[in-house]
Amino acid sequence: MKEVLKAVVNVFLKMPLGFMVTIKYFFRKPVTLDYPHKKRPMAPRYRGRHYLERYDDGTERCVCCGLCAAACPADAIYMEPEENEKGERRARIYEINLLRCIFCGFCEEACPEEAIFLGHEYEFSDYERSSFLWTKEQMLVQHPRKDNPFKRIYRRVRKAYGAPDKIS
């Protein structure tokens, strides 16, 4: 009888007590995500894949000055400048080799035009090495974009150069 009682207590009292933590988590929101379908928002200063910014009127900010490539410790950036139809300096080729990149963010810091940023994308896997060579077209942000956090900076720059405000 005593044995039976002990078993009943174990089952109905001690076991739930032992599983207390587990049971508690049954009713909590899970910490894991349904990964490929859902993604976790990254920290604001996370350094993922690069993107190239544009001005409000759609022209790319990058002038191909070469400072990012000079700052790059992994030598992952290659560029060739050209003269666009307005006579301004722009990149003809701008490539980042993501296999070489160590995501240190020096390019972002070196950029005098605030053109290159490290974004929040982190999924790099492919079947070919060549697909890790990201070109300018792949990295430029979409043109009419909803918000532009750089409007203020841009205005300040234009003002310093004494350019008319009409473009901004």
Partner: protein, 854 residues
């Protein structure tokens, strides 16, 4: 004051002064500026507007120094060093002054370094980091030059075919304007407006397209002047530099290639200052000529002719074919029936290997390096070859008090010597005399520019001699002896014959007689003349009469990059006796067969007595003065091998075409017109399958199962030849000058034609350089305004130029400086076969001009 300073330092500086700079006691010649004194002694003073080869202006005020007992900071570039002066270049006061100047310059200088091509090598950038404030205290809009209707945010203006100006970036150091004026004598760039809106710009309605315009970009301390050559191509820190030389002019101008190894590409050429040669100025042909190296039109693989068509082949096939045909020819007709023509722009080793291959392997004396000479000297011991071998020092032009140019358009032929001549005149008060059949661009500095009648070259020189005798400038036995030799000639007659007035002849004679140090230069009008022996005899008389060689230098200037080397290494049919003896000694034998030069080889080809021909680097069809003659000769050949960089008229008809390396693709040594041997290093890997000349010849030799020797052996043999003193003395006795009456003129052809080089081109390769073709891309007819008016020609009109043997249609270009009835056409463009107008046997080519109604 600055002017005087310069003069004193460069002429004779006897008195010295001792001053103290930063506690260091320094002794310098009197008249030196404080800045120069400091720089000479390793004390660095930052500058923007100062340039070692220009007069000081003190425009930038960056070179502030503190001088004790002087109340304020002084600009050291315009302050003369004085005995006992105590100078501080590093005191707090000076630092404060420099900081203020940088801040002031940056007032209106845009901070667009990311888009500026000077970024990374900018004086302002460097000095701002070194001396400037971290931040600006001025918070207002920078002044900006915007052209109306411009949508660009860059404000760039194209002021010349190659030069782009950004006035916002300009810090008004005036270096470009001063160099243009003082060093190059050009006035197409100037400073306009006043005050805040002062701007550098091209002269109204003009373009900056002078033959030295590239230098303006190089000396700009900021990115205000850039050229399309380097603009938006690459960052300076990604490039490496290789020391090289100019392969187009004969001075051997020292250059620096900026190259990138991964792309195997040269991006620009800058100067590598060598005060003995170039003073740091590069003519545009030197600066932009490198572009042919990376041209996509380069010959890529060897071609061999199969069933009348050139098809691609491997090197081995091509070399086998050459060996097979050359042995066939020598077996059948003897090895004398093979000839060779090399380009005088090849390096020493290639030229030497070429000559050694022909003379030791083929046992033939038919080698030459002159494809474009009208008449080749029949013998090595002529007065002309003596004159050519005379030593000449470019730097000695500087302090000559008389610079005498005879029969040369220096600007086109020898741009470096032209700049030296300007320098001698502007900085050292030399008197410049130009005696030429047409007026040249040196007119503005020339004390007298005497234009003689075309074809009366020797009469002009005789006239000067006679004027000297007549004026008793020279007397005694000398005058008597010469007067005897020239006896039937009298001064008035000669003056009439040559078209220079008696007064002018007297002035020229007086200048020659009174000069203390003279530089006498003969140019292409003499060297390419059919009667050059007669002309040089007259020059030799002149030399004897005035003792010119005793008080300076007399020379006929070599024309191509390694003409000097070719002569010294004996790449002629009959080299100088000393060279010949040396070659016999080195090789242990020398072919005894009769030597033939290019002209006689071509004549033999027509008679089918020369059947095999090997051309390396040269293009005789384009450059030889008788196009038809050359073409007929080459077409009769059994076997023609042509090695060149590009497809040309000669490679078109060749049986085997081999791609040749340019001078930037291998290490080579070149001998300039002074006889100075200089080295050009390999900058890039050989393009496509091209190979250096020396290697090609070695490969062919290997097919004969022979060897020309290892590299070291060749180098030491070349050195032995270069060490020979090849200078032959000019005659020491007066000689009679036969008066040449011009051949009978063809009826109706009256206007003398000179075929020269375009100021932006040289030889047949430069037309492949995009930058140089932006200055001139096709032949044109240069004509004086008077003649143009008489023929009712306007700028740009198409003109039919007809000679007894051919005709071409070219646009007219009116040159203000040509005053008499002569016309000039450049020979550098393959699209217009100018040489088809010329006749080999005529002294003067005469043409008729008629307007083509479009």
């Amino acid at each position: 004051m600055a002017d005087d300073t310069r003069k004193k330092t460069t002429t004779k500086a006897v008195a010295t002064v001792t001053l103290t700079i930063d506690g260091k006691s320094i002794t310098v010649p009197k008249g030196t500026t404080v800045l120069e004194a400091a720089l000479q002694n390793g004390i660095h003073i930052p500058t923007f507007c100062w340039h070692p080869k220009l007069k000081s202006v003190g425009a930038c005020r960056m070179c502030y120094v503190e001088i004790e007992k002087m109340a304020k900071l002084q600009v050291s570039c315009a302050t003369e060093a004085v005995e006992g002066m105590v100078v501080h270049t590093d005191s707090d006061n000076v630092k404060q002054g420099r900081r203020a100047i940088i801040e002031f310059i940056l007032l209106n200088h845009p901070l667009d370094c990311p888009t500026c091509d000077k970024g990374g090598e900018c004086d302002l950038q460097n000095l701002t980091f070194e001396h400037g404030y971290d931040d600006s205290r001025f918070d207002f809009r920078k002044s900006r030059f915007v052209d109306e209707g411009s949508t660009s945010t860059f404000d760039d203006v194209r002021i010349g075919p190659e030069i782009v100006l950004n006035r916002n970036r300009c810090i008004l150091c005036y270096k470009c304007v001063r160099a243009n004026k003082e060093a190059f004598g050009e006035y197409d760039l100037g400073a306009y407006e006043r005050g805040n809106i002062t701007q550098i710009n091209s002269a109204p309605g003009e373009k900056v397209d002078n033959p030295f315009s590239g230098n303006l970009v190089e000396i700009c301390p900021v990115g205000a002047l850039t050229n399309s050559d380097w603009r938006y191509k690459i960052r300076v820190w990604l490039t490496k530099t290789t020391p090289s030389l100019c392969n187009f002019t004969s001075s051997g101008t020292n250059t620096l290639f900026y190259k990138e190894d991964h792309q195997n590409k040269i991006f620009r050429t800058t100067s590598r200052r060598n005060d003995d040669i170039d003073d740091g100025w590069l003519p545009d042909v030197t600066r932009y000529g490198y572009q042919i190296v990376n041209s996509p039109d380069r010959l890529r693989v060897p071609l061999i002719k199969k069933e009348g068509k050139q098809v691609e082949a491997t090197w081995d096939e091509a070399l086998d074919l050459i060996h097979k045909h050359f042995t066939e020819i020598s077996d059948k007709m003897g090895s004398v029936c093979i000839g060779g023509l090399a380009s005088p722009s090849l390096d020493n080793k290639s030229l030497y290997a070429f000559s050694k291959f022909f003379r030791t392997v083929l046992n033939s004396n038919n080698v030459d390096f002159r494809s474009d000479y009208r008449m080749l000297p029949p013998d090595a011991e002529t007065v002309f070859s003596r004159l050519c071998s005379r030593p000449f020092k470019i730097a000695d032009i500087d302090d000559s008090d008389v610079v005498f140019v005879f029969g040369s358009d220096l600007l086109r032929e020898h741009p470096n010597e032209y700049l030296r001549m300007r320098k001698a005149c502007n900085f050292n008060n030399a008197r410049v005399f130009v005696v030429n059949p047409y007026a040249t661009k040196a007119a503005d500095i020339a004390a007298l520019e005497a234009v003689y009648k075309v074809g009366s070259d020797e009469q002009a020189i005789n006239g000067i001699c006679l004027a000297a005798i007549d004026d008793n400038l020279v007397s005694g036995p000398k005058a008597k002896a010469l007067a005897e030799k020239l006896s039937p000639l009298t001064l008035p007659e000669t003056s009439k014959a040559c078209g220079i007035t008696v007064d002018d002849l007297r002035i020229l004679a007086r200048a020659l007689a009174e000069s203390r140090k003279i530089s006498f230069m003969c140019g292409e009008i003499v060297t390419r003349s059919k009667e050059r022996e007669t002309i040089t005899t007259a020059v030799s008389n002149l030399n004897l009469l005035f003792g010119l060689e005793n008080k300076g230098q007399v020379a006929s200037l070599a024309r191509y990059a390694n003409s000097g080397g070719a002569c010294k290494l004996g790449v002629q049919p009959s080299p100088a006796p000393a060279v010949k003896d040396k070659l016999k000694e080195i090789w242990g034998g020398y072919p005894e067969c009769e030597p033939h030069n290019t002209d006689s080889m071509l004549a033999l080809m027509k008679k089918e007595e020369v059947a095999g021909f090997f051309v390396i680097g040269a293009n005789p069809i384009m450059l030889h003065p008788d196009r038809q003659f050359v073409r007929e000769g080459l077409e009769k050949l059994d076997f023609l091998v042509a090695c060149d960089l590009f497809e040309s008229e000669t490679t078109e008809i060749a049986d085997v075409v081999l791609p040749l390396c340019s001078w930037a693709e291998y290490d080579g040594e070149y001998v300039n017109l002074e006889g100075r041997s200089q080295r050009a290093e390999r900058a890039v890997k050989p393009m496509f399958e091209s190979r250096p000349g020396c290697e090609i010849i070695k490969l062919i030799t290997a097919k004969y199962e022979k060897s020309l020797g290892e590299d070291e052996q060749l180098t030491s043999e070349i050195q032995q030849l270069l060490d020979l003193d090849s200078a032959l003395p000019l005659p020491t006795e007066f000689m009679a000058v036969k008066v040449v009456v011009e051949d009978k003129q063809d009826e109706g052809f009256e206007i003398p034609l000179f075929v020269t080089d375009d100021p932006h081109h040289c030889g047949h390769l430069t037309e492949k350089s995009p930058s140089l073709t932006s200055f001139a891309d096709d032949a044109y007819l240069e004509i004086g305004p008077d003649l143009a008016e008489r023929l009712k020609l306007k700028e740009g009109d198409n003109v039919r130029v007809e000679s007894p043997v051919g005709k071409v249609i070219v646009p007219a270009r009116i040159s203000e400086h040509i005053e008499n009835d002569v016309v000039l056409i450049p020979r550098n463009f393959s699209s217009t076969p100018i040489t088809s107008l010329l006749m080999r046997k005529k002294r003067i080519d005469r043409v008729t001009l008629s307007k083509v109604d479009s």
